[in-house]
Point group: C2
Amino acid sequence: MPLAFRLLKTSSRSAARLGRIFTDHGPVETPVFMPVGTAGSVKAVNPHQLEALGAQMILGNTYHLYLRPGTELLKEAGGLHRFMRWNRPILTDSGGFQVFSLNGIRKLTEEGCVFRSHIDGSSHVFTPENNVDVQRAIGADVVMALDECCPGDADRAYAEKSLRLTQRWLERFAERFEATSPLYGHDQTFFPIVQGCVYPDLREEAAEHAARFAKVGIAVGGLAVGEPAEKMYEVLDLMSRVLPPDRAHYLMGVGTPENLLEAVSRGIDMFDCVMPCRNARNGVVFTWEGRLSYKAAKHARELDRPLDPECGCYTCRNFSRAYLRHLFNAGELLVHQLATIHNLHFYQDLMARTRAHLRDGDFEDWRDGLLARWGAKKG
Amino acid sequence: MPLAFRLLKTSSRSAARLGRIFTDHGPVETPVFMPVGTAGSVKAVNPHQLEALGAQMILGNTYHLYLRPGTELLKEAGGLHRFMRWNRPILTDSGGFQVFSLNGIRKLTEEGCVFRSHIDGSSHVFTPENNVDVQRAIGADVVMALDECCPGDADRAYAEKSLRLTQRWLERFAERFEATSPLYGHDQTFFPIVQGCVYPDLREEAAEHAARFAKVGIAVGGLAVGEPAEKMYEVLDLMSRVLPPDRAHYLMGVGTPENLLEAVSRGIDMFDCVMPCRNARNGVVFTWEGRLSYKAAKHARELDRPLDPECGCYTCRNFSRAYLRHLFNAGELLVHQLATIHNLHFYQDLMARTRAHLRDGDFEDWRDGLLARWGAKKG
């Protein structure tokens, strides 16, 4: 079955949307948050737990998967889904962003980007063409075009030069994608990525160019890379006017619960971020009352209080803050599992409630209440 | 309900026994292997997973729990069962062994043992009396008497001096235990520990003395501390003749699958060991074909083979050796969970099959077949 996006509803009071992505691994209700499974594993939780907490779709990192276990092994395995035993949809990034962010040593040319493995220092190159091949081998349902992720503080000249390269790479990526086929019997689609840094005219032009290649969805890249949140929202305001409404809108690498609600309000349908997993492992969880540093001494005696009394996850149904804090202090591995389950469940629940309120037509009121609640907690 | 042990059957061809321990947290079928939950957590797996893989009873370490989270918090929590959400039976050691093994700085006197916390260097003392109080606060179903674990290479004079101290401590421990009550509404019992190093006359005398205090069970300590396996089996041969047959026999800190089968054959009913958990995290699993270093390069392409084709655990039902090896190589936290689930399941399965063969009367044949199979693999 060909991959497709169906827009189900747009709010009358904001650009927020309700939609559904159809894939050969099942449907995905949007807005959706995708947990990050960097190297074939969402850290500290198993696929059964991921399904139980409501994850509809996960993200894999092409840079990591390409280096380890490598495309040959993934081909032998019949693709990433079978290798990691995840039977729901997967999206992979192109690896371009991680080549730029993880690796000092690199060379950017018209042809592609040369990078060194952080594992063994070996030299590799991603071109738009071989990047298609790598992502065909991984076999994600949705794959991302190779782009240059322009730094958030780039001047206009650099941003424009970078955008032109991204656009030429997109054309080459699309050509290779059309010339090749999925390897494992399920359909694949690719999303073009809108760059252009914080410059509205570049962003608008980039969106128009990218839209020509967007069959199912289109991504907004180069945000949440250090610029103020207001700048990001400005770009998203613009995007909400220029992105094709009948395509899924994916905001890459974002973000906090607040970011998600603000971006949904601006027409974004898909998200991914390492934040819920990473924060969980570092002692911070998200709750309906705001962030909670569960490792703090003040929680040491909270024996009857779960991380979040409003939460129905396995962790909150069973364990106290005092127990979680103890596990963290004692360096017990179990804390990674339990805190990750909670944070991912919170993100899934946030998106599920977002969808429910969009259906009911009161998303904006609910959102405003939450943002006020969380904003008050920040001070 | 008072804790009790019932001997159900003794093999006609060895000293192997089938039994049942009754506790307020449910029955325990013996022979039983107890996973080690050092500081209120069996490393990398949650209580639901532990139950699912068949763990009947777990062990907690008093030394660790006393230092962190501490007895005051455990009292507030209503005991360890409630704190860690484990509703099946628990056994705690006295902490004496870990004071000796983890800590260079200590002083041993008639009164008790002075030790320093490995966490903050603070000074503490365990006496037989306060050790009862600490284990009452933790609230395990079965608690262990405070003893001195004599080194395996001690000379006879030291071994005898050490045994006398252990015996005086046992008398004081028993007195305090009788003078106090469980704190959380479920019954507790204590097991005395037979020491005496590798000296048969000391061991025999120790067993007779300890047996006077054994209401439900009796433990054999001071083995698997560096002596050859044959020495251990010699002591266990002796124990099989002198331990009271109507009490549960617990061999502390043992061991490999081979050790378990040999010890069951000598009348041992209960075991604990960190080995299945620790080996799992270090890249080694136990299988019905013998040990497997799943991190080895030769397993890199075993995409259709689980850790153990004979195993029915979650890990073996879902994941390949190639995937486990990849997770280990990539340093992914999930490998700890998956490999621990497998190894603990293997130990539970080994004990479950042991019990089944004891019921059927062919334990010794089955054991010999397994030992031959594993012995052949060692060469």
